[in-house]
């Protein structure tokens, strides 16, 4: 394991751009039951930071994204953008705060209006907020924008419709649109899962550049730990399972020293492009392959029915997310935190 630098302890107190405090999100499902897509989730995204949220489908990672975007109202808890509550009573969020959080969706095809050209799509915000002065200025700004996301030559792309572009190019357009209003943070929900392998990296590099050059923070939601590591570098990672955060900390610390058995299993399941290493990776350390019914979550630790190390206490007591002794920035919601009886 190698050392990475993260926010120093005791540094100046800064207001996080987004803060979720004890957020819960319940959905009613047919049969009168309720599914918890977020259970007591507390999370903050600071200025210029990359936070990766990883987990399998149904773990609630996309819900967290929607809550950060302010398009879904949590059933409990508080959401603050720049220290201001998003869902305060009678308090309408001002446009400026709202615009600080932008989005890049997974499916670039449905995230762009199919009947509009790139110019129509990208010029709309400039005109709407009167950022540009006159048609010529708008055009210049759109061209600059296309340049900034690597769609060269811009004149070639400006009149294109979304269906004329490849997945990677459309995703660049989505990213371009997200940057128009100078956001402080971009919520990127699986932005590269529909992009071809050879082009994934270039999209991640583009987001990386926006992070480094413009200081835009990213909440990177993904199922793919390898891209989370590539994009996140020295950033933080949050691992979710059944709506709860089960582990949180520096990306490399988590990947090389998972404290929660779930992350351990997840890491084990990731195939390696090296056939030799890949052949060693058989048999997942899990008692049960299937995810429990989210409408009837297990008692005690949510993971215990699948956990190969579960003991009596795991069936009754729900572990809280706490710091590891060795690393206060590394948190895990497990009774044993890496010290299992194997």
């Amino acid at each position: 394991m190698f050392q990475v630098g993260r926010g120093e302890e005791g540094g100046p107190v800064m207001t996080p751009i987004i803060e979720l405090a004890h957020v819960c999100m319940e959905f009613a499902v047919p049969g009168g039951k309720k599914v918890c897509a977020a259970r007591d989730v507390s999370l903050e995204i600071n200025k210029g930071e990359v936070v990766a949220v990883v987990g399998e489908s149904g773990c609630g990672k996309s819900t967290i994204g929607k809550i950060c975007l302010g398009v879904q109202k949590p059933t409990a808890g508080e959401v603050l953008i720049d220290g201001k509550p998003v869902w305060g009573r009678g308090l309408k969020m001002d446009h400026k705060t709202r615009m600080a959080v932008q989005v890049v969706h997974q499916d670039s095809y449905v995230s762009l209006n199919p009947v509009k050209t790139l110019y129509q799509t990208l010029s709309a915000p400039f005109r709407y907020y009167k950022i540009s002065k006159g048609e010529a200025d708008t055009e210049k700004k759109v061209i600059d924008l296309l340049n900034s996301v690597g769609l060269n030559p811009p004149e070639y792309f400006i009149g294109k419709y979304p269906f004329q572009l490849s997945g990677g190019q459309r995703q660049r357009v989505s990213i371009a649109r997200a940057t128009i209003l100078d956001p402080k943070v971009i919520i990127a929900d699986e932005p590269v899962s529909g992009v071809d392998a050879s082009l994934k990296i270039s999209i991640l590099d583009l987001m990386r550049r926006l992070n480094e050059e413009k200081g835009i923070a990213f909440l990177y939601i993904t199922h793919d730990l390898a891209t989370a590591r590539y994009f996140g570098r020295e950033g933080r990672m949050v691992v979710m399972y059944l709506g709860s955060i089960v582990e949180q900390g520096g990306i490399n610390e988590l990947i090389f020293g998972p404290a929660h058995p779930y992350l351990e299993a997840l890491l084990h399941a990731i195939p390696s492009p090296d056939p030799k290493k890949s052949k060693e990776k058989t048999g997942i350390p899990l008692k049960n392959l299937e995810m429990p019914d989210p409408a009837e979550p297990p008692t005690g630790c949510l993971f215990h029915p699948r956990c190969p190390y579960a003991e009596k206490i795991c069936e009754t007591g729900r572990p809280v997310l706490e710091s590891m002794e060795s690393d206060p920035a590394h948190l895990a919601a497990c009774h044993f935190k890496g010290k299992f009886r194997r």
Binding site: K200, N252, I255, L266, S272, T282, L289
Partner: protein
């Protein structure tokens, strides 16, 4: 050889012209082995797979010189009735997002038995049920429960396992797996690969994987072929190819995959865009994106060159590429 493609050419006829999806592929799948065909979107991998079972859409035109030899027989010459028998009995396919292909209104049992009834001349209920149960057990499902379940009562991973069992019902010699785990979560995916590995070892069935996910097949595949814009660029034993890819495209593809192992190394995307399949670049289709391209690459199309040790690459500059790859 189990299957041999000989100069396979498939065009999709659209208003703008012929989209050359599969453009002269000659390549064989070894009997009893696992072969993986790797390609990105638009490489023609699914069209190639469908061509074996002749399930391509009507506007797909297979060239007259093309041959697909299966056990000495040209599949492209078979009559409609013969090809119907060939499917499932000789060759079966597990296709993309197949877990949604089950009929939601029928119990698993009925779907399995119907498949057998359709293809077997002497259908015996008891024997068929036994066979279905055995196969479900092989994919590690509890037959008693799975047989009587409706598809919605099973998870995505379980449904995919049912589909795999279904593909094996008529004891095919050849199993095509077209992105078998694409829509599944990583843990389920890993489990299904374990399972396929086990099935291969137990039955010795020839497997032909079609995938964009290089890492996923690294574990199982004995042989690998890399496809780009309808052409085979490189083939060889998987371990050697994954460790030292020679063709600049395979090199680029493999080095573009981020990993959770070892130190964080910076990755590089292949520059440029996949080609327009109607108006393909002259010479080597990859030359506009290639770091080694020189004059000849834009003028002549490179044939598959034997590099020894069972490896082939379609690159004039393979020796330079090999050196560059090793350093």
């Amino acid at each position: 050889m189990m299957v041999k493609f000989e100069n396979l050419k498939i065009d999709y006829i659209v208003r703008e012209g012929a989209v050359k999806v599969v453009d002269g592929i000659t390549f064989g799948v070894e009997r009893g082995r696992v072969t993986a065909l790797i390609g990105e979107s638009g490489s023609g991998k699914s069209t190639l797979a469908k061509a074996i079972l002749r399930t391509n859409s009507p506007n797909a035109k297979v060239s007259k010189e093309s041959r697909i030899i299966f056990n000495g027989e040209n599949l492209l010459d078979l009559s409609a009735e013969q090809i119907r028998r060939f499917r499932w009995q000789k060759a079966a396919m597990v296709f993309q997002a197949a877990q949604n292909a089950l009929n939601p209104t029928m119990r698993i049992k009925d779907q399995l038995l119907d498949t057998m009834m359709d293809h077997e001349e002497k259908f015996d209920y008891g024997r068929a049920l036994k066979k279905a149960s055995d196969l479900l057990e092989m994919v590690r499902l509890i037959p008693g429960r799975a047989l009587n379940a409706y598809p919605h009562e099973l998870s995505g991973g379980m449904r995919q396992r049912v589909i795999i069992a279904m593909a094996l019902l008529l004891d095919p010699e050849f199993l095509i797996l077209d992105e078998p785990t694409t829509a599944l979560d990583v843990i389920t995916q890993s489990y299904i690969f374990d399972l396929l590995d086990e099935i291969h070892k137990r039955l010795g069935i020839t497997m032909f994987f079609i995938t964009h996910d290089v890492s996923a097949v690294a574990r199982l595949a004995h042989n690998v072929a890399v496809l780009y814009a309808g052409k085979i660029f490189e083939t060889g034993p998987s371990e050697a190819l994954f460790r030292f890819p020679v063709h600049p495209y395979s090199q680029g593809l493999l080095s573009a995959i981020p990993s959770i192992e070892g130190e964080q190394v910076s990755r590089k995307a292949i520059p440029g865009m996949p080609p327009d399949l109607i108006n393909k670049p002259s010479g080597c289709v990859f030359h506009p994106r290639c770091y080694l391209a020189e004059n000849i690459c834009s003028m002549k199309e490179p044939p598959l060159i034997n590099m020894g040790e069972g490896r082939l690459a379609a690159c004039f500059r393979w020796e330079e590429a090999k050196k560059a790859g090793l350093s």
